[in-house]
Homo-oligomer: 101 residues x 4
């Protein structure tokens, strides 16, 4: 009985490959490939959820009377060093004056 198994070993092997996520297909480590893809997809889901949360907060802020572009502007400024902000604003002022703006 168990000998019949040997006869079809090649075929059985191929069948296992189809069923077994750990096998190689065309020289590709299928299990690792799946792992990479699924982990990235998972993280992207979380990122998307956070983006939704942020959007909700801005919508709420808008309802409360805040100006959303200005809020975003503030958040952008807060990422910079105060000295960097100062420096850029100074330069901008110089150029604006030079142009009479």
């Amino acid at each position: 009985m168990d000998m019949a198994f040997d006869m079809n070993e090649a075929v059985a092997s191929r069948a296992r490959q189809a069923a077994d996520p750990d096998s190689n297909v065309g020289g590709i480590a299928v299990d690792r490939l799946r792992s990479v893809i699924e982990r990235v997809e998972r993280l992207e889901e979380e990122r998307k959820a956070l983006a939704g949360d942020i959007k909700d907060i801005f919508a709420e802020a808008k309802s409360a009377g805040f100006d959303v572009p200005t809020l975003k502007n503030i958040i952008r400024l807060r990422k910079k060093e105060p000295s960097e902000i100062e420096e850029q604003e100074t330069l901008l002022d110089i150029y604006r004056r030079a142009l009479g703006m």
Copy 2:
């Protein structure tokens, strides 16, 4: 005595505003403004962390011999309906044939 209070109420009020995050400054609800900004910043931090994680996974995959652009391609495909993929590939083939590509 209690009159002194009234006399300086305006000044005292301004002093409280400077110290009290719940007060209004220039018609702006400061506490709420802070809340909005800090919540968004918190979520953006998390988003950034996730982006870093994704980057790490791709770097690891690259080290393991995977082709990163192709991985991204696969992930993009998996977001679409199979019928949509099929449709687009069919159209592309038709146009390529028409142009002899």
Copy 3:
């Protein structure tokens, strides 16, 4: 002799299609397809050339001691209405004061 004509009509037709850019291939108006693609490619070339010119100007300006990010900032400002600039700067100032920035 004249029968050979008919017999091979289908083949001959396909041969003509291969040679004739005005023919249809798979229901596609090949000549029009080519026209669309080549016109877009031509315009994209021009766009790319202009992008190069702009880059050159900024490089030259940088050599002359100008701060390129500030130059871009100025150009961005000049696209807006003065009233719009004023309005946005006022709002930003209010929020910054409210936050003690």
Copy 4:
């Protein structure tokens, strides 16, 4: 008469600066600044016009029954070497097979 020259030189200089676009303002070469900005703005205008032309062509193509995303796809492909296209398609196929897609 020539003495008035010296006495009011500083004031006269400032007056000239205000009137003369070639002067320096705050250490900035105003004429050169203007030149840079206006040249860039000119080129950006042209770029914008070309972008509009491209948009028009795609709109026309859409009306004629072409699928615009596929057209863009074709144009992207035509920018690549045939060998590069082949290579990428092969890799994609391998990964898809490995994942049973």
